[in-house]
């Protein structure tokens, strides 16, 4: 089981990567930053970074304005 944004739960499976989580959660906003257990995962690794079971995945949405 994975915890998403300290709130939602989704089933974990062997070989699950960040891209799988984003699809499962229906996240299609392009400007995001993702961490797994506190570690930043860069976009080029979304399809290769395997997420361990019981991980905490955080998806930050980045909006313009500063």
């Amino acid at each position: 089981m994975l915890t998403i944004n300290n709130r939602d739960k989704i089933e974990w499976h062997e070989g699950m990567n960040v891209r799988d989580v984003l699809v499962a959660m229906k996240y299609d906003y392009p400007l995001i930053t993702v961490t797994v257990n506190g570690e930043l995962v860069t976009e080029e690794k979304y399809s290769t970074f395997n997420i361990p079971d019981n991980a905490n995945v955080i998806v930050f949405h980045l909006a313009h304005g500063g």
Binding site: T35, A63, G65
Partner: protein, 209 residues
Amino acid sequence: MGQLPVDNRLFERNVPGSTEVLARCTIALAGCGGLGSNAAIALARSGVGRLILVDSDAVELSNLNRQHFFQADLGRPKVEALADHLKAINPAIELALHTKRMQREDVFHLFAAADLLIEAFDLAESKKWLIEEWCSLFPDRPIICASGISGLGHTESLTVRRSGNIVLCGDEWSEMAQGLCAARVGIVANMQANLAIELLMSKGDPGTC
């Protein structure tokens, strides 16, 4: 810039124990607009000893609805105008000023001396590469970001989320095209400054990076 002696009366109302710690800290601000200028002022008033300021822009009239600048600053580089305002609060604050459009490859040499970074860029794409580069170069140092500061009201939606050394303030959905209000931008800028102080105080002995 050379360090001047601090008149101790300046910080006599500070939280006991904070002044000595913050005086040894170096905080970098990537961007000196609505977020960066207001956060820098709060940090200077709190007694932070050294700031690194980076911004490529000059002050425009349309900035004055939310940024810590004045009519007399119009046309001046933001980092220089802001430096004068910070020195007017605390003449002893040390400042490193960089008027330039930051690129990803600048992060190391501009911010190597910083204990902590405040992300204060306009564009979400820039926020993204700055977070990635900072976390890659300095994985043990915090970065405090902002996302979703636009529009009016919705005060309850301005939150703080943390993961590892990434902290993000804002509502994560409002966009610059909605317009920007001083009160809301200022809240998030001060949230960033407050978080910086919280993290540096919890670290206890910064300046040893």
